[in-house]
């Protein structure tokens, strides 16, 4: 799961997939490549114009030739400007679109993946795939490829130009080329590795700040300020060393390249100088060659840089494709039915299920619920209560057996048909950033403000919302800040009420609500649950006494089944739990 995992081998199948991303833009891409090759070519012509100016203009003293040379030079500049403009806008367009395509593809894939995938994969990991990895793949595919092509073409054309003009002198100058390329690759690899470690430590620092901020109450109440600051200083110390090391690497690399460039010029002067004296080499040629030796560095550097990035890009691409290739475990059948109101008869028929193969959570679980009944599930943590809900919502499918609603296997329904008629309140309330009203409206997107108000009143939320400074328009930050857990639970309850579902599912929906509010909810619940089938999970047994039936679940089976009165009379597990909560003191 780490960001910096690499496969060392160059994997052509990955790259084939990467290049397939370009297929909608292939003509555009071909155009960009043509432009970039022309750019690399024009670049090579500049020293030749200078040579012409020196040899034909300055040495013989002809002003008209100099003027021609100047116009040639200007022409090249303007041509180059147009090429650069079209290359930048072309490359940006394709790059941005490829990245957006990748983001969209990963998003669509996430939409289709089952809850089991999200249970196993941290959010941060998915975010990195979607943002930084997509970005890296797109950038390499456009800017990286372009830089590489430019560097390669530019370097070859320079070599050709020099060889044509004066092959002996060219060989002397070109002898340095492999050295430049080699050194560039050597350093770029290390510089990149340095960046990676800086980036890694940097994310540790961000995590450190984040954790320190979130846990500040704990830190203060346990008096750990000094210890935390000391730990953090070790981390920033590591960051200092890594950053300086990486900067020092760059400041060795560039000067070395300069010295080699200057050595090239020196070689040209030393070899060419005697030629000029002997008259076998023109002065213009010498000037052009000096200029060429200075121009070696850029393309070599670009090639080395892209080369160094390839490995990282391949790893990014592998991770993105891993996500794109992930198969959903729970799928809609192609001919799934999309029509039909739920009446509310629910049946679990010989259901077996486990989150992994070895440990079954439900074992031959059987349950029939008539429409309109309220069922309460009770039992210790890990007994399988939430699993029952997960199966009913088709977050997971049973390994054996079937879940039926109104006599039909829910696997024959679309997700929309199934879930749009269920009102779900989960254990940890999840609110979206936005207003209180928007959060309630999530239950029914076309609900009127009045309907939202009514739902809020039904769950005892209205009064407290009215007391907020901006009422229903109060803006909540991510995660529902600044509300308390109890208040968040009420909002998600109102959301489910608004959805007007045929089946109500409440998993510890009011665990953090105060006694007063809870009593009010209980009073309202007769009305809320009228005509609906309801499943309620609660640790606070006071919440569930009114249920038509209470199921005590233990180790994936129904241990006891009956009304509150019946179960109390049986003096079994339920009775024991109940006494623990109410009778002692």
């Amino acid at each position: 799961m780490h960001d910096e995992e690499f496969s060392k081998q160059f994997d052509t199948s990955v790259w084939r997939k990467v290049f397939r991303l370009l297929s909608p833009y292939r003509w555009h891409y071909a155009g960009i490549m043509t432009v970039i090759m022309l750019m690399a070519g024009v670049e090579v012509l500049f020293p030749l114009v200078v040579r012409y100016a020196v040899d034909e203009g300055i040495t013989p003293g002809r002003r008209d030739v100099i003027l021609i040379a100047v116009f040639e030079y200007l022409g090249l500049i303007i041509m180059q400007a147009f090429l650069v403009a079209s290359f930048i806008s072309g490359c940006a367009r394709v790059g941005v679109r490829v990245i957006a395509d990748l983001r969209r593809m990963t998003y669509d894939r996430l939409q289709s993946l089952s809850i089991s995938y999200f249970d196993k994969t941290p959010v941060g990991w998915l975010m990195s795939r979607m943002f930084s990895d997509s970005q890296r793949v797109g950038d390499t595919l456009t800017w990286g490829a372009v830089d590489f092509v430019w560097g390669a073409v530019n370097m070859s054309l320079m070599a050709v130009a020099m060889l044509v003009v004066h092959w002996k002198l060219a060989l002397a100058a070109l002898s340095l080329l492999p050295l430049i390329v080699g050194i560039s690759i050597f350093f770029q690899r290390r510089i990149l590795r340095g960046y990676r470690s800086v980036r890694r430590i940097n994310s540790e620092i961000t995590a450190g700040f984040n954790e320190g901020y979130m846990g500040v109450r704990v830190i203060k109440s346990l008096v750990r300020e000094t210890a935390m600051a000391r730990d953090f200083e070790t981390l920033t110390g590591k960051m200092f060393e890594a950053s300086v090391r990486s900067a020092v690497l760059s400041s060795v690399y560039l000067p070395i390249i300069h010295v080699i460039g200057a050595t090239g010029s020196a070689l040209v002067i030393a070899f060419g100088g005697s030629g000029v004296i002997a008259g076998s080499i023109s002065l213009g040629t010498l000037v052009a060659f000096i200029s060429y030796t200075r121009r070696f560095f850029d393309p070599a550097n670009e090639i080395a840089r892209v080369f160094g990035q390839l490995q990282e890009t391949q790893a990014s691409a592998e991770r993105v494709f891993m996500l794109l290739d992930a198969a959903p475990e729970v799928t809609e059948r192609p001919n799934a039915s999309n029509e039909g109101r739920i009446r509310g008869k629910i049946e679990f028929r010989d259901v077996w299920f486990g989150y992994d193969r070895k440990t079954p959570v439900l074992r031959q679980f059987n349950l029939t619920v008539d429409p309109g009944q309220t069922i309460a599930l009770v039992g210790p943590t890990g007994s399988g209560k939430t699993t029952v809900m997960n199966l009913l919502l088709r977050f997971y499918d049973p390994t054996r057996g079937a879940v039926l609603i109104d006599g039909e296997d829910i696997r024959q329904w679309t997700f929309l048909r199934l879930r749009s008629q269920m009102g779900v309140v989960l254990q940890t309330p999840h609110l979206f950033s936005g207003t209180v009203r928007e959060n309630i409206r999530y239950g029914k997107l076309d609900a009127t403000d009045d309907a939202i108000g009514t739902a809020a009143k039904q769950v005892g939320l209205h009064e407290f919302v009215e007391a907020l400074p901006s009422g229903y328009e109060t803006v909540l930050r991510e995660g529902g800040e600044p509300l308390s857990t109890g208040q968040k639970q009420l909002i998600s309850l109102a959301r489910a009420v608004l959805a007007d579902p045929a089946i109500f599912i409440m998993d510890e929906a009011t665990s953090s609500v105060d006694t007063d509010t809870e009593l009010r909810i209980q009073k309202a619940s007769e009305q809320l649950l009228a005509g609906r089938t309801a499943f309620i999970i609660a640790h606070r047994l006071s919440t569930i006494r009114q249920a038509d039936r209470i199921l005590v679940i233990e180790k994936g089976r129904i241990a006891e089944n009956g009304t509150h009165a019946e179960l109390m009379a049986r003096r079994g597990m339920y009775h024991q739990l109940y006494s623990q909560q109410f009778m002692k003191s």
């Binding site: 500040v216 943590t381 109890g486």
Partner: protein, 593 residues
Amino acid sequence: MGSLIRDFWNLTQPCRKAFVLAAVALVAATAFQLVLPWVLRMAIDSLTARTNDYRLIIMLASGLVGAAAGEAIFTFLKGKWAAEASEGTVTHLRNRMFEQMVRMPFSAHGTVAAGDFIQRATSDIQTLGRFLSVQVTEVARTVCLLAGVSTLMFMMQPTLALAALALLPPIFLFSMVIFRKIQKRFETLDETEAALSSNVQEYLTGVRVVRAFAREPYESGRFRELNARLVREDIALSTLHAVFWPTSDVMCMLQAVIVLYLGGMKAVDGDISLGTFVAFNSYVMYLIWPVRQIGRLLGEMGRASVSMRRIREILDLPREADAEGAPEVESKRLKGGVYFKHVSFGFDGQKVLHDIHFRVRPGKTVAILGATGSGKTTLMQLLLRFHDDYSGAIYIDDRDIRQIPKDELRSQIGIVLQEAFLFSKSIYDNISFGVDQPERRLIRNAAAAAAVDRFVSEFPERYRTVVGERGVTLSGGQKQRIALARVLVKRPSILILDDTTSALDTETEAAIWSSLRKWLSDCTAFIITHRLSTAAAANKIIVLDKGRIVQQGNHEELIRQPGHYRKLHEQQWAKMAVLDREASRGHARRRVQ
């Protein structure tokens, strides 16, 4: 502006020596750089003079390499020292920011949202780091170059020098103006990207809700809209780049052509030598690109000053301070008697607590009841001195707590919060977080008392299991249990449990309460709870309503007087009695049948 410069100047304080060294190396490197074209000039002139002096040529060629080597050495030193200076400054700033974060009063955390703070501590500091390591050095280098090159040019040929510098001001201005624009568009783009990523983040953290309400199409619509907007803004930004780079290229090259042409003419006329002509061309090339670059950097500088201001705002917040003249008392274990004497408190102009007055003897257990928002949690925060600006006074063992150093006070009060926060460390490290030298046995005992051992045995790595983002995800109840153990390890004199067992199942909760009894025997305990059974067991019950104590006393007393407590109690028992009657009737019926 003046204060901004002063801020930056103060910032560099811890690394001034490195900054000075870097500046010296920079000047030396520039000087060597300027020698190169000069040597080239001499070489070409001697070649055109056809003196046939091979020795001179070889000497010049090696001079060329020597100058390059000198430049290389000093560039390296400059790079090293500049990195040490800027990275040192940034490191120092990060540490200060962290100190500030943990040392500023708790109330300050309410004024800066988490995301905003993290942004300032990370990307704003990074912006400053880049400013110091790139912008400052580049501007300094360009100024040095500009001074050196123009001096040399004027020495060689004044009119040509003027012509060679003519286009530099417009190049500089053009890039500064365009990059201001680019910067603005970049910020919009940044915001859109942040919006997109928080959209995805919310989708992922709330995926169960999205699925449960079948809202995939709605979410997908919002995503597509933002994704498309990001593309549009990105392309708009690249259009500016597509205008800037070629246009400025033409301007820069035009400057080069001017030198080429005028210089060429002068060379033909014999006003200047061929070597001077070549040297002029090199020098112009030295200048045009850096000048364009500093235009860009100055255009982007706005960002650094914004970041500086945002960091300043945090560092200027006051730190938590102990009352002046707090007497240095030898740290001894508190007995735990608590006395709230007519305490009233409010923030943001809202009164939260009114005239709170009660006394608790050492070793007793107090239950606090009250609806959400009635002030229960705030009351306990006062005891920990998270806020000091209340009226009235609070005493522990007859000492005003404002006279007890915070560290000493807090190290003896253990609080377990409703939403337990764990660090992404191992379970063992989390439990021992509050003590310097953790005693294994104590930790085992605390873990057992808080029923941590019940679930830890399910993990293959047991207490070494890492929790949080990079480890195992725990349920709310499991986190609460670890947080409880963490506090027990401290063996506090006063223990505060803020609705600590709300997420636990009945059985575990019962187990915890029975094992807690032993631990509670020698400490004063405050228990915030919704459950009447828990409250009934306490020595004293305090009922809060809208920030006032409406009732206090023990269970027997409160049940006898009319009021809030009795009402709650009756509601629960009345319903239970009915149900129990039904139950016994059902029982009887079955027996008859």
